[in-house]
Assembly symmetry: C2
Homo-oligomer: 456 residues x 2
């Protein structure tokens, strides 16, 4: 006899799980959301440091992300644009140089080559069905090569390939060597193209939410019926039987169980794979999640008394091919103080950074900033970062990716329910997969799926 019986248990209180819970409770169903952490929000996390709020996780929204834009609007929250004013800095083998826009760091030939490369990838992307990438016309061929290999066969010059790689790692938190070309193409299609993924104005990095992104999730959670949310509840097992599903939970007061008609698993695929299922999941589903590693990223924030770079006509954006940190942004809060430069160790560099102390990482970051923007970058007021791969209830950001040879073989198991188990999470989304918007998309889709299964 379990401790409680509800219509639906939702595993994970990120945007996917909270959206599913919102839709299901809105339809009159009884729901419990089980969250292993001490907080909701999943891969978003907003904390106070040195008198300002800082987004340690997901922070941006942009045009075309209709679901998160609508949600922020419904909740009455305000957004403000990611600042882009001033010159960007490219730091590479030739040293640091200011450019009006990163693309203009190229000469004409390089720019043409870059645009052709992106165009060729987008031409592939448009042929990849969002709901079934494995059914693309040349799926086998595109899935048999890494994105790195595809770039190499196109023979672009080093500077172009280098900046493209910075973009890839900024988008995927993985190197192009780790990504199936088919996966990269599907991801592009899901967002609407390369520039949607990489741009600030007009793209996925256009706007911020005042007060940070995690409070959006908190507001979602606070509107759920009382008793729906359970923090510190880590799901360890899911057992299906004729009448329902029994969820095993590790909780502060000891192990506990809940019964439900249906369960929605809304955690990253690799964590879904660590739950003990009874009966065991089939081979294709289990091996799918074996082939969906999370990206590797350490997000950092350097605080200054004020955004001094603005006085010097700099945007705070640094692109640094060949350095451990790929890209930085001016994330100074709307109030204008303190000055805040945020950025990322991504992919292989994040793994190396994860072996260092936070102090060592700070020194690396500040040194890059000083070489790119000048010595004033050394006058730091504070530093904080988060290695998302080290978080036991995330194990990597921004999302999962598929290496070569996985989508075409294991992909059909991604969203297919198994008995009373339904799968959500941004990795299951058709639109903006890997993003907050994709998480909401998946939550809405899975809620509809569960309501249909429950008989409306």
């Amino acid at each position: 006899m379990a401790d409680q019986r509800v219509d639906v248990v939702v595993v994970g209180a990120g945007f996917a799980g909270l959206t599913a819970a919102r839709e299901l409770t809105g339809a009159g169903r009884s729901v419990v959301v089980l969250e292993a952490r001490d907080r909701v929000g999943g891969r978003t996390c907003t904390e106070e440091h040195l008198g300002t709020w800082i987004d340690l996780g997901g922070q941006w929204i942009g045009p075309g992300q209709d679901r998160i834009v609508a949600l922020v609007d419904q909740l009455g929250l305000r957004t403000y644009p990611q600042t882009e004013a001033g010159d960007d800095v490219i730091l590479d083998g030739d040293g640091a140089r200011r450019v009006a826009n990163v693309a203009f760091g190229f000469d004409d030939d390089e720019l043409t080559s870059y645009l052709e490369l992106v165009g060729a990838l987008e031409a592939i992307a448009e042929q990849v069905p969002l709901e079934a990438p494995w059914s693309a016309p040349r799926a086998q061929e595109w899935d048999a090569m890494s994105l790195a290999e595809w770039v190499r066969t196109r023979g672009v010059v080093e500077r172009v390939a280098g900046l493209f790689e910075v973009g890839v790692q900024a988008v995927f938190a993985a190197s192009s060597a780790q990504l199936s070309l088919l996966h990269a193409a599907h991801y592009l299609h899901s967002a609407g193209g390369w520039s949607k993924l990489t741009d600030s104005e007009g793209g996925a990095q256009q706007d911020r939410v005042e007060g940070g992104m995690q409070p959006v999730a908190e507001q979602l959670a606070s509107r759920l019926p009382e008793g729906t949310m359970r923090l510190f509840h880590a799901v360890t097992s899911i057992a299906q039987h004729d009448d329902g599903v029994r969820i095993g939970v590790s909780a502060p007061a000891g192990p506990t169980e809940l019964d439900a008609d249906r369960v929605v698993v809304a955690v990253p695929p690799t964590l879904a794979g660590r739950i003990a299922y009874d009966p065991p999941l089939g081979a294709q589903r289990d091996q799918l999640v074996q082939h969906m590693p999370q990206g590797s990223v350490v997000k950092f924030h350097v605080l200054y008394e004020e955004p001094w770079w603005r006085d010097e006509g700099l945007s705070g954006m640094v692109l640094a091919p060949g350095e451990p940190i790929g890209v930085t942004f001016d994330c100074t809060p709307p109030a204008g103080r303190p000055g805040l430069i945020s950025g990322f160790f991504e992919g292989p560099a994040a793994v190396a950074a994860g072996e260092q102390t936070m102090e060592e990482r700070r020194d690396v970051v500040v040194d890059v900033l000083a070489r790119a923007m000048g010595e004033r970058a050394r006058d730091v007021a504070g530093y904080v970062d988060r290695d998302w791969s080290a978080e036991p209830f995330t194990r990597g950001c921004y999302g999962a990716h598929l290496p070569p040879g996985a989508w075409t073989v294991y992909g059909p198991a991604l969203r297919r329910p198994i008995g009373r188990i339904h799968w959500a999470g941004t990795e299951t989304a058709e639109h903006w997969t890997g993003y907050i918007d994709g998480a909401i998309d998946s939550g809405q889709r899975v809620a509809a799926e569960v309501l249909a299964a429950l008989g409306g």
Copy 2:
């Protein structure tokens, strides 16, 4: 207070764990081996079907596999050679044809091309350090491409590429698209070359153990001190503290705990990643196992009243590029009856086969055999198979592989102990990684490591 305290807990009673336990108890240490299943042997499993023993898992040993050869000898077990007498059959787009040896199915140009392809791969392999593949001279380049992509850039003709792919899938239980070139090269080097992996006489498929392979593991287990082995004990958590390590176990009588000075984790990497560690493992180690999916294989056995194909001068070996089953072998027991053809659905074909019923798989297999060897193949006395990816305490065979971009980034975490936790299993071996011999190698290595840590 845990239920028992020992020097070392070993997780998993495959050949790696049993070897570690043998070495550690031999050195006077107290050991408990925890095994989730109802049997020892891991990825070996010998069962009686229709009056004969059948190896549902690993079954062969060969020259150069010094550790398993020595073990079989020490235990006084007898071996017999894999039969190769008779013509092989190649079944492809041109239909079925008999050949004296599969390589002789090629014309001269094709044979030259095939040997050049294999030679080029072996030339890379020899440059990959066994203990640290990420330090190979061109590791970044070799890790950025899939084996499939490397083959494609060499421009070999379809027939050669097709037969090479059959070999790759027979060795790795994954398609060449799924494998980092660096991984494939390391694997070859670890075994001593391509022909060591693919050959019967002189290679890894040379000999069988009379009575089957799992009894070797059973004999190892039976020689451990009384009370060492615990079946039905699934490890769920490993917590490290100042004085030792506490192992949480799911057992038939309910949850239990053991304390130890050290723990050896000797299960496939993806399963090691499903244990709850406290403190959580670091990012590099956790993400390593996210990048080590198990291969996909369904091993099947078709029984006949007698080995009728021998009368017709056939070896029982069928190579079938383009068919769901890649390769078959005559596995008739030494007694000469019943006749037994064993073979494999491998890689993508195994995943598709896993979605079918055993009856459907039998029909597929028998149809291929009939088209290759003649209609007598349809007169079946029995059929049995095992989908190793569906086994919750294996989740795929023969072993794990690394996709592009993983060895160079996560590889250094493979064998590095984390506090009191030591890692074993054939995937951690320098010699014959992926094989039973590699499992024994890893058990010996980890035992030495633990004894040194315990102070001799």
